[in-house]
Symmetry: C2
Subunit: 112 residues, 2 copies
Amino acid sequence: MEILKNKDYTLDNEQLARFAKAMGHPARITILQFLASLDCCYFGDIHNELPIAKATVSQHLKELKEAGLIQGEIETPKVKYCINRENWEKAQVYFETFFALKKEKIGCCTAP
Amino acid sequence: MEILKNKDYTLDNEQLARFAKAMGHPARITILQFLASLDCCYFGDIHNELPIAKATVSQHLKELKEAGLIQGEIETPKVKYCINRENWEKAQVYFETFFALKKEKIGCCTAP
DNA sequence: TTTGTAGTTCGCAAAACTACGAACAATATT
DNA sequence: AATATTGTTCGTAGTTTTGCGAACTACAAA
């Protein structure tokens, strides 16, 4: 018998993990926060908010884009970034649902 | 003049990123979900839910513990894990607050 | 005392992440 | 045509993550 460990992760869990991972760096949290409060702005504005080189900022933006949380649009010679509303709300629901799992239960480890 | 780039990340953003990072892997999401719905259980139960070796499970548990999302307690010869309620709720508030930033605004990039 | 059970820790390898400067692309300006 | 502006991409370096098997710890039972 070969490897038959078929217990894969659910797609929902993988999606939630993907969103969480994208948020797993202070620079990316800062970017998202900035965009969420400003609605949208140019690369330079984002770079100004951060203590890192532009190449690194560009990389973080790419990751956020790949996770679907933001979108970019060329407005020569600048690039305008903004929150991807659809996925932002999707992520919000994912996290809400996740945290709602633990509601008013009395557990066996209520202390420390 | 030396390096004076003093624009650090806020503690809140670092904390949120830390929580998000801990949630940034499907195995860890699955563990948290399992614990949240069960309240608490032993290492073996968690290992049974996952398609990975016990050494790897142990590592993921360690990370979740370090992020403060779970806690473990020795109950020889087993180890009982459960959600760390206090920090779970803290994390929940962090995420809620974060996503609430983008409410009903009309932005300049409403479309893809 | 040997054996079992339940997990953790160690050591390793491969891959991914974070960061940077330099080089590049695309357009606008001189 | 040369220069400037705005970002992206490339190449590199160091660190961290993920995963595993093997060795180890701690206690209980035979």
